[in-house]
């Protein structure tokens, strides 16, 4: 067992080296040679962990997705009021701190790299937003008259549009403005918890006791 853990840890460290190289030198600089050097390995021993550059890219992409997903999940299970929870969860999909900024920059490089080449790159953003909207529906937190399918698609476009603009025009678009937009958008689709009939998650249940 320890060997497997070591193997996975080493793979993660190589993937992180891959991210750093992409951030510094773009996809063109993200060669096996450069990534091995960044990870402190020989190209030969890197090939022991990944059979091809494509394999490594795929692993590095999945690792970004996995980390974002875990952070979102952690927030989802926290006892925050629903609207605050939503702001925090959706913020994980936006380049609002050093970590998410780096993740999304790497991700954008991957999207550009794979654009037009093969099957679409799935960042899992849509399925994350779908899960949020499903959760809101289950707990009867969607406002009356909301078209869930339409609002899922709209929120998905809004999030990716904001992320893209922040990455490409970060100087103009402040983090504060993004949070303001998120909050106002959430207000449009999510009920206030006091109107939600006691189905609004941990906080309400605690207060009801």
């Amino acid at each position: 067992m320890p060997k497997i853990v070591d193997h996975e840890q080493r793979k993660e460290r190589i993937a992180e080296a891959c991210w750093r190289v992409i951030l510094k030198r773009g996809m063109k600089g993200a060669t096996v040679r450069n990534i091995a050097k960044e990870a402190g390995l020989s190209p030969g021993s890197l090939r022991h962990y990944f059979s091809s550059q494509g394999d490594l890219y795929l692993y590095a992409m999945n690792l970004v997705k996995e980390r974002v997903r875990k952070r979102m999940e952690k927030i989802a299970f926290s006892p925050l009021p629903v609207k605050e929870k939503m702001v925090r969860i959706l913020s994980e999909l936006l380049p609002l701190n050093t970590e998410t900024h780096a993740e999304m920059e790497v991700w954008l490089h991957f999207i550009f790299h794979f654009y037009g080449k093969e099957g679409a790159v799935d960042g899992g953003v849509r399925s994350a937003i779908q899960a949020i909207m499903d959760g809101l529906e289950t707990y009867r937190l969607l406002k009356e008259g909301i078209d869930k399918e339409l609002e899922t698609e709209r929120l998905y476009a809004l999030i990716d549009g904001l992320a893209l603009h922040k990455l490409l025009e970060g100087g103009r678009l402040s983090d504060q403005k993004i949070i303001e937009i998120l909050k106002s958008h959430i207000d449009l689709i999510v009920k206030d918890e006091r109107d939600a009939g006691g189905a609004g998650g941990e906080r309400i249940r605690e207060e009801d006791r």
Copy 2:
């Protein structure tokens, strides 16, 4: 004078050849040699019109912007009801027909190509949306309590998010769904013309006569 016109026409034809090459072969294939061949010219005579590949790219990008801008302007001056006008204007910024799809695909290639290289590529989408929001405010067509700055940013993110998703996941996201999202979003920020106190553009003024 005719010579200048010919010169411009030739430049436009070369730019269009550049687009076609990008669509067929990506930015990597968009070499001076390939573009010249597509335009039916020798690489030498292409250099007579553009001193460098960068020059040609810049011209080709501006030509896309200019054409979209002209189509949007034409719709803006038409006597359509305001909400219909907005749907049509915003649709020009989305890959909903062969022409706009090709334009935006080329545009995305340009964004990818220039990403991280120099100053941000400005597609003019934000300034177009800013102009629309300014117009709505001037004619008192914004709903009460609307935060114009926030809504400009939100609409801008929504449009680019939808455009990106349509380009990357076109099979999933139908044109009809996009139009539905546009319409519902416009309903959120724009007054019905009958409530706008006669300031709702040509149609209302005609009816008032």
